[in-house]
Symmetry: C2
Subunit: 202 residues, 2 copies
């Protein structure tokens, strides 16, 4: 089974769009998805930005909002921009990393995106995150402790380093096994087609 | 017949993609396309950029090249990045404005894009532009003189001012009659769908 790497950042509106549809779309095509949370902050810093480019370039930011409204409306998804935007997704990303190693990371990630962009909630809030962890049938305090270990922190840093190394500059980015990058929710179909065409390894 | 405004810049790789397919696509759907050349330079200046963001942000520039290669290959279009990139499209835009008022502007614009991005030629070169004008069955020197009048220059400036006014920050941008903007070649289908849904004016 071919695997497509899904590089996502919790603060990213377009990652929300992809997170909500990638699993179903990939399953129908027999493609496995490997979820990789990472942080855009360090990447934006190398570009000279201290916040989202949607805040720095106002016309682009206004456009993004309208684009998201239209796309979410077409797809039957709620959309509400959280305040502040962008949200701090650090803790959510660490928890997702823990969950992805234990089989509940994808459901948790979708729940984070829903809270953030359908309900406009603050995903840096420990109580909110604890509630989403509990929804997975887990003990929040235990998971929050695992998410705060040096090992988890280091794994998230490694993910971000790896993203930079392969050339990621925005989210979502889809990476095929033969090293092709596809940037943006609007490239998801093309990325899946590409992944399907890669000859299976023996 | 609904009209979709097509805002394009000759230096823009993604405008090339749209210019080569928008007329056929729109005709099949009964949509008229109004071609509007404008300059991204003044807009980029307001964003603090003195060249294409693809030059400033290298990972993004590398990605754009690969993205274009893949998309052009899928569409049976040649692709060759001109040197230097971005090209200076000022003169081409002025000529296109003259041509759009005389019925040959769309063919000329496609010929410019082909020379620039299929053949990698320098579109700031007067001889090249003269040749493309002659291909339209016109006398190059006469058209070049019309393109250099204060009136033509002022019309191009007005186009760019208008683009800024409606919120354009990149090219191509598609603008519907009810004021929706769609940015990027990958939004062309969506823009046409939107244009088709607008109720006809009485």
């Amino acid at each position: 089974m071919a695997t497509l790497n899904f590089w996502f950042e919790f603060a990213s509106t377009y990652s929300y769009l992809s997170a909500m549809r990638i699993s179903d779309l990939a399953a129908r095509q027999g493609i496995a998805i490997a979820w990789h949370p990472f942080l855009l902050g360090p990447i934006f810093k190398t570009m000279g930005w201290d916040t989202s480019p949607f805040n720095i370039y106002r016309a682009k930011g206004r456009y993004m909002l309208r684009d998201l409204e239209r796309l979410c409306s077409d797809r039957g998804l709620a959309f509400r921009l959280p305040d502040p935007f962008p949200q701090n997704g650090l803790m959510a990303a660490r928890i997702a990393l823990v969950g992805l190693g234990q089989g509940w990371g994808e459901d948790f990630s979708r729940a984070v995106y829903h809270a953030e962009f359908a309900e406009g909630k603050n995903i840096a809030d420990t109580d909110l995150l604890g509630g989403l962890i509990a929804q997975q049938g887990l003990v929040a305090d235990e998971v929050l402790a695992q998410a705060a270990t040096p090992e988890t922190k280091s794994r998230l840093r490694s993910n971000t380093d790896r993203a930079i190394e392969i050339g990621v500059f925005g989210a979502p980015t889809f990476e095929t096994e033969d090293g092709e990058l596809f940037w943006g929710d609007d490239r998801l179909e093309q990325a899946l087609r590409w992944a399907r065409r890669i000859p299976a390894k023996r």
